[in-house]
Symmetry: C2
């Protein structure tokens, strides 16, 4: 009947205490056992799950996506509906697109630094400015989300 208390789990996973309950509300973390007085008692696996969540977030998945991932992983009996495999591939493509996008941005910044321009508005008026105002903005409006 013993288990880890919430603060132990939070500390072990390097996560705020409130975050545990937030994840529970969001359905990412299963509701744990309770003590007689109502305190949460987590199994040791909870720490693993938290680490997995954090790693997945770091890999670019949103909490909703992580929830789905954990969900399909859990009761994957028979048919497999676009599991980790497919989603990882898709996410990889997203990340690669974002890298490409940031590389455009980096080279633009580099050009701006090298050209020595120092006043954006003044610069934008004349064609000597290396910053492609027209083309840079509509580039990838949602490549920035996530």
């Amino acid at each position: 009947m013993t288990g880890l208390r919430s603060s132990q789990v939070a500390d072990a996973a390097g996560v705020n205490l409130q975050t545990l309950r937030y994840y529970e509300r969001r359905g990412l973390l299963a509701e744990p056992e309770r003590s007689l007085g109502g305190h949460r008692l987590y199994p040791a696996e909870a720490v693993t799950v938290l680490k997995v969540i954090k790693a997945a977030q770091r890999l670019g998945f949103t909490l909703d996506e992580v929830a789905e991932l954990l969900d399909t992983a859990g009761h994957r009996h028979g048919r497999r509906d676009a599991g980790l495999q497919e989603r990882s591939k898709a996410k990889l493509a997203e990340v690669e697109a974002k890298i490409a996008d940031l590389q455009v941005i980096a080279s633009t910044l580099r050009a701006a630094v090298e050209a020595g321009c120092d006043d954006l508005v003044a610069c934008a008026g004349r064609p000597c400015c290396p910053i492609p105002f027209a083309t840079i903005a509509p580039g990838a409006p949602d490549a920035d989300s996530r």
Copy 2:
């Protein structure tokens, strides 16, 4: 006394009408002239400023940073306090760090796809999993902000 109306400016810059007023509130866009009835009448430069804002955002600057940039650019008389030059260099470093970070993420995802792992939680338990749960999470907690 004539000038562009707000919707004309918004359309020309490819921006929502509300965004104009939002930028005005945030101090990014100077308060324009008004008609007798109180309608805003913008000079043509406003469109340029908006495009600059959008480009700068795209380059990774936050609206606060853009505001500062426009501010220092405006009344730069005598001393120059870390102008576009310095900030661009710093931002370039940030962007490069972010690219490096995303490359780690991409290669991790690639490894996960190649290893064919399909259940994060089960995988995390055994050492065959290519995902470095311990090291990936605390990698760069703020490289993700912006």
